[in-house]
Symmetry: D2
Subunit: 346 residues, 4 copies
């Protein structure tokens, strides 16, 4: 932290669409944070940073940013395949690190990062499962902690995207890890988080290609369903889709012995209802980017608070590397089950 | 009642669209009732009765039906202008009488009917404000009685129809009494019923012609708004419309000192929600006929139960002639206020 | 059918809670039907019939009712273990037969009934999956047929009951067939019906005992989840529960390539919303009995129409014996998967 | 604007609860703005500013802040009775000015401010009707502009607060101007804004004291209803309440010839639904402060954008002094109607 201001000095790495949003949040909307540096190999993105951010030091090489001694923490919004090594490098350079999900699509690599991180217990290392910071998910979590639904034992959760006719994700299929590792990994984290982090025991998955035939060559599907059994008699059901007509519909339910909570059932875009010849309707959040705008901000605030060790920081903590490892482990088992048609024991 | 069966023997008068529904309900769906006679001046309607109803005696003249000694009660679904005299004639013939609203659009005539009815206290005379029998309105009424919202002091209620491009109601404007007497009269009855039958003290109304210019020559509007003050500090707000795009939207709210109830806020046609490119929507009840299908049935059952004097009959009783008079009195004051632009003291 | 009246003469068998409802519907609310006979071994139930129904002939023995030549069709609301034989007996006696679900919990027995029924193609034999006749389910079905959601490929459906502290179903566990055969069988039929009757290929199920430990000795659970893969790339997810806090929550969704439909998402009891210190809420349908009141009636009307061969009768037809066999087949595979922890190939 | 940074330099005046929120927004969340000064007569509030804001110059006297030549604009969150003179003083000092509503409760004073402001056409003067900047209200406005509901002709709008047992507003009644000037003034502005700024022609109001008897001595009520007729056949209905059980329920509807829009019908606190023995419910926004959190921020951004004259600035402009004058004019007529029981012609 800056000795002068007591503010956490951050460097953002990667300035694509999501990187830009993180950068703006860190620059202008997070008390206690200063965005002092940004890194991108693309001149276009650095130009954006130059115009938009408050005088950041700009780098085209990650190593140079890590060498900047006035950077306390790095914020990685880079391609997934780089995450693991970039986290390790950041920790070795003495920086706290926030990294967008996934940690890695390779279990051994996940474990290597955890082992390395264990050597730097004073450094914060968080994976960006932003749903935990969405005010509605947070409210549900708090209600569960307060006993509002008794003992929670079942989570149903879905990540479904509006159909993209361009099929970006088809081109992305070779490296996405498949629908369960790309989408359901969020639901896996939500389920574990809301159910008290039980260990997974057995999973089963199935899928369908509804529209995007191009996925077949990658063994992927555009709609996937799954069941996950946890060790203490807890359960989760997942649904992931790339083909919704109405928008991004991220919805979770948690069912307990004394009640249930639904988070985001109707993915309403705002508080407007339209009455016309088609009936009564609301429009929907088009993308996760719109749906979780506030979550991304809260996530950044929580990370800074966690590093600064303020009151309640631990309660607000995001997903640990261990959480990310577990989500990957379950996601890979789902992929295996989809392929084999058999239940997979973990 | 039939000495043999103990059933109430009814004769329905008027077999238009609503009359047919009442006839079928009375014939097949009301325990304790037998529809034994039907009256219509139109051969076509009598033919329908011949085919559809269980062997009714058919009349083309109301006097003949009243002379039928095996008819215990008459059910009037006739043009509004006939109601008052037909009720009087029925009572004089010793028949119980149910009559569709309105009692009359003329206050003196209303009072004449009440005076006549007072001579036949053993005969049931009910005006068809079916909303009281809708299960949701009934549920709200019961909750209020049970104290669920403390002391109710404000009702907001609306009767709004889907726009009819054919403008049937424009042609009907000369005799309908205007929007407040034709539509709002239901809301007036609802407000009085839910608020404990307070006396009206002062009203104000205003209106707009949104689409149907033809109404202007009758001093009528296709959208009307109104406020009614009652004597004990209670209030009502009304809205009536002929021009809704989405359907028949009958909605009431009652606000109390400890809570509020909304009845029918979203006029959903059924339990289906549609997710498509326009968002998430439900279709709406197209007409009052669809919305209140069950209410018409319950209303018939309650009338028969009231005549038969079963347990709880009084609690289930429909609108009395006095209720109908009061609704007309308030509706006429609203019409006067619309015309004058001034508040009208009752 | 009665030569005199052209009405279908029915005999109801079994007069428990659901039997009574069916009897009243058939007696009073189904055009073209006459309830002429009723059968129950219990004097108490026959006494109810004597008082409530329109002069039925009463039997304490099923064989006697079958011998009644003025009965055209039997309506079985008897214990599940009797269904198969009673259907066969009815067909052999030349009667049309409606039987509450399930056909049988034994596959061989199901097949035996189908074989027998094949000998009586002129007789109607229907199993009571009433959900098909619920107006909202019917509306969804019709929309799908009309292409409103493109090609449907995924159904998510649940049958969840309000928790019964008395644990009736625990005592019933020995003979219920388990949660999937008792509850999910409805969802299986819904999924097949809405997806165009695809053949099941593979299933997986898991479960939890949330509250009712007594179920463990029967290998049963009080919450079950399942996935069913069909042969043409279609999918279903099921959830069944005995332990909901808020009511009977029967909810189905069908997802297609161009949209989705949700049926009964919020199990609202009626159109009332309550505003108080707890927020804005609606109460829920307490039991399936309340939720499907109208469906039971429509089901009876459709059966009578089907026997009478009126226009559109086939479109309205309920579940066939073959449908019931398939639902049992899938339900049994789910039970097996729950027990083994492995996917079951059909 | 700062020659060095091009940022608008603001001074906030008044640091009560709402003043603090505005100050934090201006300090940290508004691109192009610098909060450089703050003014409060209370040391406690200045201490808060010292700790929370980025090195503001602090004043205990408004005149001193106006003398600060490095302040381009003042942001007034002061007691209502000071607004008019403080706006005039700011304009005379060459500062742009944003002032919380109301402009004044005195019409002559409103007009005096307008006359003075006319002398400074280069200075922005905005009254804080934040509802215009709420994303849902903004969405509705945009839809109307795009013709989605045809010609809008009726607005129904309400401002209702959760009951405050402490009765703060009773103590405040002497100076609040009464419920219509304190609460409904927002709805008046919304109605005018959504209907295209028609001129009011006639109003009628009525009210009830549901809980707070102490209001009677001030001629005030805790629940008020009103109708406003505009010159071109447009209408508005208003409801204001201090006594809601469920929360702050700010709701508006606009009805047009081809459809309608509802904004905020269910005042849901977030996206969580709770299923328990009471049914299905959502909690509500407790106060306007929670409901309009985002609107306050957007309002600040729009003001800064308007001063800086960016593209689209005028479309985003908030309420002008003329809008505020008109809202006060209508609000006062409502108060007069409440008192007299008669319609008031404007």
């Amino acid at each position: 932290m800056s000795a002068a201001t007591g503010r956490l000095r951050l460097g953002v790495v990667g300035l694509g669409r999501l990187g830009k949003r993180h950068a703006e949040n860190l620059a202008y909307r997070v008390p206690g944070a200063s965005l002092v540096a940004a890194c991108s190999p693309l001149e276009e993105e650095r130009a954006w940073a130059r115009e938009t951010l408050p005088e950041p030091r700009l780098y085209d090489d990650y190593a140079d940013l890590l060498a900047d001694r006035e950077v306390d923490a790095v914020w990685l919004v880079t391609p997934s395949s780089l995450h693991a090594q970039q986290i390790v490098d950041a920790l070795r350079a003495g920086k706290h690190v926030f990294c967008e999900k996934p940690l890695s699509l390779d279990l051994a690599e996940c474990e290597r990062v955890l082992a390395e991180a264990a050597r730097y217990p004073h450094l914060q290392a968080t994976i960006g499962f932003m749903r935990r910071f969405d005010p509605s998910y947070k409210d549900a979590f708090d209600r569960i902690q307060a006993g509002a639904i008794g003992r929670p034992f079942l989570v149903r959760s879905q990540t479904t995207d509006k159909n993209d006719n361009d099929g970006f994700f088809v081109r992305f299929a070779a490296t996405s890890g498949g629908i369960f590792l790309d989408c359901t990994v969020h639901d896996i984290d939500v389920a574990r988080w809301l159910l008290g982090k039980p260990r997974a025991k057995r999973v089963f998955a199935a899928g369908a290609v509804a529209l995007h035939e191009g996925l077949r060559e990658f063994g992927d599907v555009d709609n996937g369903v799954a069941i996950c059994e946890f060790e203490d008699g807890k359960l989760a059901m997942f649904y992931a889709s790339r083909t919704q007509a109405h928008g991004n519909d991220t919805h979770s339910e948690v069912i307990g012995t004394a009640g249930a909570l639904a988070i985001g059932h109707n993915p309403r875009a705002n508080r407007v209802e339209i009455y016309d010849a088609t009936g009564v309707r609301n429009e929907c959040t088009p993308t996760f980017f719109d749906r979780f705008e506030d979550a991304f901000l809260q996530e950044a605030r929580a990370f800074v608070a966690a590093v600064q060790g303020g009151a309640g920081a631990s309660a607000q903590a995001g997903a640990t590397l261990a959480d990310a490892l577990e989500a990957t482990r379950i996601g890979m088992a789902l992929r295996e089950s989809l392929k084999s048609g058999e239940a997979v024991v973990l």
